[in-house]
Symmetry: C2
Subunit: 117 residues, 2 copies
DNA sequence: CCAGCATTCTACCGACAGGTTAATTAACCG
DNA sequence: CGGTTAATTAACCTGTCGGTAGAATGCTGG
């Protein structure tokens, strides 16, 4: 894995188990065993996934007696939104051209990929 | 790599080389050698990265004589934006609570260095 | 102090990612 | 046809990932 934070964030999100954990944490804090409950996976396995999320800064843990309360951290997701914002114009443009594209999709030949405007 | 499309998208984006390729393609089409030029990496290496992006649906290629014109495809990035939209409320909420959070940040915790307002 | 619970650490495994070089395909041009 | 260019495929190496099992750590409550 790379060392840059954005790569760590993307890599952490490239796993459905970890995304499910995040989705659960978006509804509120939870302990490790609570988070592990929905999965047919050993507890150390879930703990490893949490570690990945933690290293990526997506999740933080507070010690509470023998429990760890896991919490979703917003910063990396905001950085991701910022990264995605760079492509916003492109996405909107291609969205506007979607109708034209679909209309021109009659023959499987050269579609209107002309960006000369 | 998982088989679900979102995981493939995240995994494809979890590499700075591939993100740089995408950023380049956001400015317009390019051939493989053009894309490879900025990197100190062998051509097959770049070709492999492109293959990952292509399998994830982020890039498509058109044959043009002996060249392949690579093009950025918007659909996966839009799916990513949709996924991120789910966390929008959480991000906005925690953004609103940021001041309170920073005030309560007496204990030596990792400062969420988001000073973006 | 001891028993028990929550969690992590260590060690290990198979599979895959990321990179290389060498060989191959495919198209152009003379 | 033969040579050149563009790009991929093949084979290989190394490191990391996702998962397991088992031991260790740390806290709580009697």
């Amino acid at each position: 894995m790379q060392t840059d934070p954005l790569s760590a964030t993307f890599a952490a999100l490239a796993d459905p188990t970890r995304r499910a954990i995040l989705a659960r944490l978006a509804t509120g804090e939870a302990t490790v065993t609570e988070l592990a409950a929905p999965f047919s996976m050993s507890l150390p396995g879930v703990s490893k996934h949490l570690k990945v999320l933690e290293v990526a800064g997506l999740v933080s843990k507070d010690r509470d007696a023998q429990w760890r309360r896991c919490r979703l951290e917003p910063a990396p997701l905001r950085d991701l939104a910022t990264w995605l914002e760079f492509y916003r114009r492109f996405l909107d443009e291609s969205f506007d051209r979607l109708d034209d594209y679909l209309n021109a999709l009659q023959q499987p030949k050269e579609p209107t990929d002309d960006r000369s405007r």
